[in-house]
């Protein structure tokens, strides 16, 4: 009532509040833009330099590459692929990563199904142990496994080695063991949340657990499996430590990208155009996978499942 009778009295405070809100909005935009710049500039700087010739990189800042004469080319990429062994390392990274993603997820799926839909004594206790293993530092496992591997000598068909250290198989097995706790944890939380009736009616219809697992549980768990695929892919592709320990010194020919690039940082020093090209080649695949499957990744980490 009073507001209608005295319009002037309420317009004044409303203008101030709109003004201060406007100021607040400018602050928010400025804050977000500055933060985005902090996140982008380091990457853009190296990306620009990866296209510039060596003498330009050494004599002037990367921002000069954004103005004419641009003088940009793909020469550095060609150089690192052939001369610095990044091409081979890329193939090695693929060799290491793909089995290291498939094996743990399948093994974990069996275990997760048993934890979700079969009852057995000690089920909860065993699962709590898996949760505990989630955060075990890999460092505490290296030495005994190195010793174990060094005693394994196989000469049979394509398998031909005196020690497992240095072989791809060594990293596949290790990554399977290291990736399992999280894979079991995530898959069990997801499978355990599937509707009970589905499995009950399948059992009534005479479906064996194997059929229920392959035809129902696995297809229904695709979102969780997709999340896991990205996690494990990024973890293995980006891993330096496990590769250094089990491949590193023993067999340089099997080095993945992370080891090769870390070595180039030492040997190439200030040749940022080459280091940049190598780094961006190593980033291309994970960024593509990540961009394609990001929503599954986000669902995986926000579903209360956080890897240590």
């Amino acid at each position: 009532m009073t507001a209608v009778a005295q319009p002037r009295e309420i317009t004044a405070p409303r203008t101030t509040s709109r003004f201060s809100r406007g100021l607040g909005r400018v602050g928010v935009h400025a804050g977000v833009v500055i933060l985005m710049a902090i996140w982008l500039i380091p990457t853009i700087g190296l990306l620009v330099n990866s296209f510039r010739p060596a003498q330009d990189v050494a004599s002037s800042g990367w921002w000069n590459g954004l103005f004419p004469p641009y003088n940009l080319s793909l020469d550095n990429y060609a150089a690192v692929l052939s001369e610095q062994g990044i091409g081979d390392a890329f193939v090695n990274s693929l060799f290491i990563t793909i089995p290291s993603v498939i094996i743990p997820i399948l093994v974990a799926a069996f275990a997760a199904y048993a934890f979700s839909w079969m009852s057995f004594p000690g089920r909860n206790l065993l699962f709590v142990a898996v949760v505990g293993l989630l955060v075990v530092p890999l460092q505490t496992t290296f030495i005994p496994i190195l010793r174990l591997y060094s005693g394994i000598s196989i000469h049979f068909g394509p398998l031909n080695f005196d020690t497992l250290n240095g072989e791809f198989l060594a990293v596949w097995l290790a990554h399977t063991g290291y990736g399992l706790p999280f894979a079991i944890y995530l898959l069990r939380n997801y499978m355990g949340g599937l509707p009970r009736e589905v499995f009950e009616s399948a059992a009534i219809d005479g479906a064996s657990p194997v059929v229920a697992f392959l035809r129902l549980a696995l297809p229904m768990s695709v979102p969780a499996i997709a999340a896991l695929v990205i996690f494990q892919f990024l973890f293995v592709w980006n891993d330096l430590l496990v590769a250094l320990v089990y491949i590193g010194s023993t067999n340089a020919a099997n080095s993945p990208l992370t080891i090769s690039i870390a070595n180039l940082v030492t040997s190439l020093g200030g040749n940022w155009q080459l280091l940049g090209a190598a780094a961006f080649l190593s980033m291309a695949l994970p960024l593509a996978v990540f961009a394609a499957l990001q929503r599954y990744f986000v669902r995986g980490i926000t579903g209360g499942a956080v890897k240590g």
Partner: protein
């Protein structure tokens, strides 16, 4: 043809075939059992591959490392607590320990603090998904690649030379002489530079989790508070922040573990030189030196630091299960 392609195909098709074949085989094997034993035996057959891997690659080696930490470099004799004595009496390990404490405190504070700030800020702009996408990209790249990106940011040339490193060029605009960021250990400046790189990598991770939790807060609740006269800061302080606390706790434990295990960035950017070493890198160096006893002792120290977090995780898991 590269002989490795044959291996690759064998593995790609063979491994899943073997594993799925295993599950079918268990069902065939179970037929031999009397009906009432089947449900009892089946879960263990399904768990067997996972339990075998967990035992061989996590449980057995952890026990082995614990035992080796009391043994000498060649693993021939028990030497009591000598390795741990060496740990607390050598300057190198004490500096690494100090650095890890800095890592734990500041990485967690940076990632959670800035992650929270960004989550709250981008919630108010229309280009939210773009901003989040940019800040969430670094978790996809390797710490090695991030190290190359940032080593270039910190690049240093002697005064007088053209400064091509972004940081030194930037401060040069204001007439400040170039700083060798990664070599100055006064106030652990170089360690903070490394922590900053890791924070650049993982803030997006913290932000995405906090942001998801932020979205789940009901808009009516916040509107009700505003109608009752609360200003934006009070809404954040009294309603949003308390509701985010459980999420912040989860993210913080993850960041603490990440900080304790920090390795790649230190290995690639400084190699642990200039007093930037951390426990994980120290342990790796001892493995390459071949002192397995001392390396084991360092790993045990790391494990002891992580055990409380294991306890927290298990308790949180049991609380979640109780309300499931």
């Amino acid at each position: 043809m590269d002989p490795r392609i044959g291996t690759a195909l064998t593995v790609l098709i063979g491994v899943p075939a073997v594993l799925i074949g295993y599950i079918y085989l268990t069902e065939i094997a179970l037929r031999a059992l009397p009906e009432r034993y089947k449900p009892r035996a089946r879960p263990w057959l399904w768990l067997l591959p996972a339990l075998a891997f967990l035992f061989v690659f996590l449980i057995y080696p952890t026990i082995g490392t614990f035992i080796r930490s009391f043994r000498n470099a060649d693993d021939t004799d028990f030497i009591g607590l000598n390795n741990f004595q060496k740990f607390v009496s050598s300057d190198a390990t004490l500096i690494a320990l100090r650095n890890n404490i800095l890592w734990v405190i500041f990485l967690t504070v940076f990632c959670v603090g800035i992650g929270l700030l960004i989550a709250v800020l981008v919630d108010r702009v229309r280009y939210e998904s773009w901003a989040k996408g940019v800040i969430f990209l670094p978790p996809a790249i390797s710490a090695v690649a991030a190290s190359v990106i940032w080593k270039f940011m910190f690049d240093y040339q002697p005064p007088g030379e053209p400064q091509t490193g972004t940081m030194n060029a930037f401060i040069g605009v204001f007439g400040i002489s170039p700083v060798p960021w990664l070599q100055i250990d006064t106030f652990a400046l170089n360690t903070f530079a490394l922590i900053g790189v890791m924070a650049w990598m993982w803030t997006g991770f913290a932000m995405v989790i906090i942001s998801a939790s932020l979205k789940s807060i009901s808009a009516e609740l916040l509107e009700a508070a505003r109608v009752d006269g609360a200003n934006e800061w009070q809404v954040f302080r009294r309603i949003v922040f308390p509701l985010l606390l459980p999420t912040i706790a989860v993210v913080s434990t993850t960041m603490i573990i990440t900080a304790l295990k920090a390795f790649d960035i230190v290995y690639t950017m400084t190699g642990g030189n200039f007093n930037t070493d951390v426990i994980a890198n120290l342990m790796y160096k001892q493995i390459s030196f071949g002192d397995f006893g001392f390396a084991s002792a360092i790993a045990v120290v790391l494990l002891i630091a992580i055990v409380p977090i294991m306890g927290v995780n298990i308790r949180r898991f049991q609380a979640q299960e109780a309300i499931r």
